[in-house]
């Protein structure tokens, strides 16, 4: 309980800090949102009118406090770019898309990487291991957006498994949405699979050489049992940390891959919002991502307690 309380306090402080930093950062970097919107049509009166509409005529601390009051109640204000549309509405639609995409690629990573890593470690030095090594070496070096382009070309244009650009929002048709997201998810997953496999393999192999394994063998255990009961449990600890990092990276990866596949998720929203200086959106998206990353870390901390008794006693 005390542990939970501590974690939640950290979460709130981190969020406050992040929001202050993004707020300040965006007022320091050049580029006025009103000017960005009016472009070469910017006359002093029009800029002034628009700045007032956007609430930019107030001082920075005032603006921050206004924003904070709204944010506490879940109201992130209105977008500058899309007048009259609440930020939370824009984000909620897209969050679903990115969440589906991230979960799909995460599942693909786990389902493929964990068995591959174990097999590769068990069969160390055999042709299977060599093959897996080769596979991971190659795929690890390919960035997700490039894979996205290759997948679009082969599966989209040549084999016609999906129609590039024909993305459907989950609210309209969830099945069609998931079907379209398979290839983007694969594009995100492949480089990450390679990393997880390599990490798991090394982790297992370094555990195998430890004394407790020799003891386990000398007590008459069979290879499989030693591996799955003793080694695997220990080997998993660093891997969990790594997978948590991967989860955060999936979010970053989806930003790029969404562009390649024309998926309207958080990534697209964030990129356009930054170039339009649409602060309310940027601010809210950054906070959402912060929350997600912190929550993932939180879950990892809890998982540790299950897997590693040494953490529990502390």
């Amino acid at each position: 309980m005390k542990y939970m309380l501590k974690k939640i306090t950290t979460l709130i402080i981190t969020l406050l800090l992040v929001s202050v930093v993004t707020f300040v950062a965006f007022s320091v970097i050049p580029g006025d949102p009103a000017l960005a919107k009016l472009g070469t049509y910017a006359t002093p009166e029009r800029v002034e009118a628009l700045r007032e509409e956007m609430g930019l005529n107030k001082s920075l601390p005032e603006r921050y406090i206004d924003w904070l009051q709204g944010a506490v109640h879940g109201d992130f204000g209105e977008s500058y770019q899309y007048a009259g549309v609440p930020v939370s509405e824009l984000i909620n639609q897209r969050l679903q898309v990115t969440a589906i995409l991230a979960v799909m690629s995460f599942i693909i990573i786990l389902v493929i990487a964990i068995p591959m890593g174990i097999v590769s470690a068990r069969k160390e030095g055999t042709w299977i291991d060599v093959f897996i090594n080769l596979f991971t070496q190659v795929t690890m070096a390919i960035p997700a957006f490039f894979l996205g382009m290759v997948l679009t070309y082969f599966f989209g244009l040549t084999l016609k498994f999906f129609q590039p650009g024909k993305f459907v929002m989950p609210q309209e048709n969830l099945g069609a949405c998931i079907r379209y997201l398979i290839f983007p998810a694969v594009a995100i997953a492949i480089p990450k699979i390679a990393m997880v496999v390599k990490f798991l393999r090394n982790s297992v192999l370094s555990e195998v050489k430890k004394d407790y394994v020799r003891t386990a063998y000398s007590k008459g255990n069979r290879t499989k049992k030693v591996l799955y009961i003793h080694v695997f449990q220990n080997a998993l600890i660093p891997v969990i940390t790594f997978i948590a990092m991967v989860a955060a990276e999936i979010l970053a990866g989806s930003i790029v891959v969404e562009q390649v596949f024309s998926v309207t998720g958080m990534g697209r929203l964030l990129v356009t919002a930054i170039s339009n200086r649409d602060y309310p959106i940027v601010q809210a998206v950054v906070l959402y991502i912060t929350v997600i990353v912190i929550v993932i870390n939180f879950i990892v901390d809890i998982l540790y307690q299950f897997v590693d008794p040494r953490v529990r006693t502390e």
């Binding site: 580029g31 000017l35 910017a42 006359t43 977008s79 490039f146 290759v150 244009l157 590039p164 390649v260």
Partner: protein, 525 residues
């Protein structure tokens, strides 16, 4: 990062090309199929598509657009990309046709008084908004006044005195001074006052298509308006304008059949669209130039500005970026305004490195000088243009460097703040020829290059005021020539606009202004 993306793109292209070559070498069968593809190869045609057959009513089309809409309120929108799209939904009292002439729309006829001070409009009989309600004289008055207020004091509407309702079918626009070009401003959208609360979310107009839905960052959907005043239009039932942020993604989506129409293709991209599309060629209707800050010390001397004009190789830029398909210009006007455009300005300067060096030496810069060119990053061809110009200038001894800026910072520093030495950008204008030259009067609010020439100021003022058409043409041509000879800036080109249109479609036309008119587009059988 950008460089790397390009490299990777290049390698993909290589991969694709290799794959294509392999397929061709695969056997007799493949070869013949490749040949038949070649025979049906995409044809580049001027201005209009040439699909044969009879026009059919109905059908749905998806048009790709590169930029998200900045507003659904036609009085507030500023992006050219938004104007192009909403051209289908809204109309003014008059609207441009494909040659840029203003034709009656919401009004069925209009009259301009002798002194060009009073514009009288008669509303079209039975014209209705998309919600079915009739367009009233009050709506017209309301729309004009609202638009004028939003545009602000410095705008063309500063000379508008009042909007007068004569009777329920007649509206008069009174000006404080004569202006024979004011009609172009009355292309502003006529909106129903009753819909005031929903202008940004559920817009209603009088155009051939009515608004259905807008999903930010994704698409705008419009449907044919059954009650449109011209019963023959539109042909299509539904048009989806799909936002595709990345041009390479757009090409993929064209190939996949997701998009039917896409503008602003590069020459390389056209080469990859081997079948299924007609490639139409028009112009972007922008003046792309290397704008010189006339207050920057070296550029205060006309000889240095002329040297810049002799140094820049416009043909090379056109060739490398647009395969030679752009229109090279020499002044701040687009050739599409054929009536006013002064063709002679194109040949005032031809590339001459020696002459440029001479002029620089005369002006006291025998060893050149350092120059920073600020380039906004929102349009790739500007960057490439800058790179070529840097090389050109090196030959005459000017040491230029490029400073890439995000568009919003560019607007703030360069356009509004006038803090720059030289910049590359494209500027637009409206359907009034004067709007193309309004960035040059010395006291004009839009004179971001700090240009100062008394002769130009006088000629421009006289051109705006005159009501005599012939005299107006003469004066505007003179204005353009002054800009060219005085080397106000280095005017480069009105770039080519290559558009891919699904070969099943016909009726796509180019406008000399921001408009992508879908009302005449139809399927053929």
């Amino acid at each position: 990062m950008k460089k790397r993306t390009n490299k990777i793109l290049l390698s993909v292209m290589t991969l694709v090309v290799t794959a294509a070559l392999c397929a061709c070498g695969g056997g007799k069968g493949d070869e013949s199929s490749a040949e038949s593809k070649n025979s049906s190869e995409t044809t580049t045609t001027e201005a209009e598509s040439t699909a044969e057959g009879t026009a059919v009513k109905g059908g749905e089309v998806t048009v790709g657009i590169a930029q998200d809409l900045d507003s659904l309120d036609p009085h507030k929108m500023v992006y050219a990309g938004t104007k192009e799209v909403l051209f289908n939904v809204f109309e003014g009292l008059v609207k441009p046709d494909k040659s840029g002439d203003l034709v009656p729309a919401v009004a069925s006829e209009y009259e301009v008084s002798e002194d060009a001070k009073v514009y009288t409009f008669t509303l079209r009989d039975g014209i209705t908004f998309h919600d079915g309600s009739a367009v009233t004289a009050e709506d017209v008055k309301y729309s004009i006044e609202r638009y004028a207020e939003i545009q602000g004091e410095g705008s063309a509407f500063s000379i508008m005195d009042s909007v007068e309702i004569v009777d329920e079918k007649t509206v008069k626009v009174n000006l404080t001074e004569g202006n024979s070009e004011f009609l172009a401003n009355l292309t502003l959208a006529i909106l129903p006052q009753s819909n005031e609360a929903n202008f940004e979310t559920q817009p209603i107009g009088t155009g051939p298509f009515k608004f259905v839905s807008f999903t930010p960052g994704q698409s705008l959907v419009v449907e044919a308006y059954e009650g449109y005043w011209n019963p023959e239009l539109p042909y299509l039932d539904k048009v989806t304008f799909k936002i595709v942020a990345d041009t390479d993604t757009a090409v993929t989506e064209l190939q996949a059949g997701t998009l039917d129409v896409w503008q602003y293709l590069t020459d390389d991209q056209v080469a990859t669209l081997t079948s299924g599309f007609n490639i139409l060629q028009g112009n972007v209707n922008y003046v792309q130039a290397l704008f010189l800050n006339n207050s920057f010390e070296p550029f205060q001397d006309v000889r240095v500005r002329q040297a810049m004009n002799y140094a820049v190789d416009k043909d090379q830029i056109n060739e490398m970026l647009f395969g030679g398909k752009s229109h090279i210009i020499g002044t701040n006007m687009i050739p599409a305004f054929s009536k006013y455009y002064n063709e002679e300005t194109e040949t005032v300067y031809t590339r001459d490195v020696e002459k440029a060096k001479e002029l620089l030496a005369e002006a006291g810069y025998p060893d050149g000088f350092d120059l920073v060119i600020r380039v906004p990053d929102n349009y790739k061809p500007h960057e490439s243009t800058a790179e070529i110009i840097v090389e050109n200038l090196k030959e005459v001894g000017i040491n230029a460097t490029i400073e890439l800026m995000e568009f919003s910072s560019w607007v703030e520093k360069v356009y509004s703040g006038r803090e720059f030495e030289a910049t590359i950008v494209a500027v637009d204008g409206t359907l009034s020829p004067g709007s193309w030259l309004e960035k040059n009067p010395s006291d004009g609010p839009k004179n971001f290059t700090n240009y100062n020439n008394a002769e130009f100021d006088e000629t421009y003022k006289a051109a705006l005021a005159t009501v005599d058409d012939e005299e107006k043409v003469e004066l505007y041509k003179k204005c353009q020539m002054i800009l060219a000879e005085d080397a106000a800036s280095v005017y480069i080109q009105d770039a080519a606009n290559l558009v891919a249109v699904n070969e099943k479609l016909d009726g796509y036309v180019f406008y000399p202004c921001a408009a992508q008119d879908m009302s005449g587009v139809h399927f053929v059988e």
